[in-house]
Amino acid sequence: MEKEKLDYPPGDFGVWIIIYIELLTFGLFFIGFAISRKNQLEIFNTSQLLLDQRFGFINTVLLISSSYFVVKAIKIIKHSQTSESFTKASSYLLGTIGFGGVFLLIKIFELASKYSDEINLSTNSFFMFYFILSIFHFMHVILGMIILYNLYINTKAGVYTKDEHSGLESGASYWHMVDLLWIVLFPLLYIIR
C-alpha cells in the first residue's frame, strides 16, 4: 500500500515562500539568458569558450555532495537520539559547510581571473548574465552557509530531536534550493552552445 503523503512540506512554511520567490527570480534570469543567447548566438558561444568548464564541474560535484550530506544529517536526527548521532549528524553538516567554502573559493578565483583579464559586467551580454547570475548565486551560498553553521551548532548541542527538527529541515530546504539553482546554472553557463 502506498505511504500516505504529508500535508505539509519539510521545515517551516515561511522558508518555502522564500524558496518559491527565489526560484521565480532565478527562473526569469534563466529565461532571459536563453532569449538573449538566441538573439546574440555568436557572442554567447565565443564568450562561453573563455570559461573553464572544470571549475563549473567541480563546483557542481561540491554542491551536490554537500546537499547529500545535509540529507544524511537529517536522516540521522530522525532515527536516533544519542550523543553519538548528534556528533555524526553535526559532522555531516560541517562537511557541507566545508564543501560550500571550497565552492566559494573556486568561484572567487574564477571571477577574479575574469576581472584580471579585463572581462566584466559591461563586456557583453553573456558576461553581464554570467556575473549577475554568479554573484547572485554566490550570495545565496554565503547565506546558506551562515544558516548551516547555526544548524551545525544546534545539532551538536542536541537541540533537534526525532519529533522536533523543523529548524534543521528549513535550513536544509534552503541549501537544496541553492543546489537546485546551480544544477540549472552549470549547463546554461558552461556547457550548452
Binding site: 505511504k3 503523503k5 504529508l6 500535508d7 505539509y8 512540506p9 519539510p10 518555502w16 524558496i19 518559491y20 526560484l23 521565480l24 527562473g27 534563466f30 529565461i31 536563453a34 532569449i35 543567447r37 538566441k38 568548464q53 572544470r54 563549473g56 564541474f57 557542481t60 560535484v61 551536490i64 555532495s65 546537499s67 547529500y68 545535509v70 540529507v71 544524511k72 536522516k75 529541515e169 530546504s173 537544496h176 534550493m177 543546489d179 537546485l180 544544477i183 540549472v184 552549470f186 549547463p187 546554461l188 558552461y190 556547457i191 550548452i192 552552445r193
Partner: protein, 80 residues
Amino acid sequence: MERITKIWIALLLFSLFAFILGRFEIVSRFFIFVLLFSTFLKGYFVIEHFMGLSEVTLRYRLIPTVWLSVVIISVAITYY
C-alpha cells in the same frame, strides 16, 4: 546501498556526462536535448529526494517541478 546514496551517485554521473559533452565539444542538437533532459532529471531528483517533497502532497511538489519544467523547456525552445 541506501536509495539516497544511489541518487547522489546518479547526480554525480549526470554531471560528469554534462562535463564530458562540454569538454569534448559534443554539441549536436541531439546531445543538447539529452543534456537538458538529464538536467531536468537532476533537478527532479533534488526536488523529490533531497528536498523531501516526494513525501508530501502534490500541490507542494508541483510548484518547483513546474518551475523546473518551464525553465528547461524555455531553454530548449530558444536553443531550437
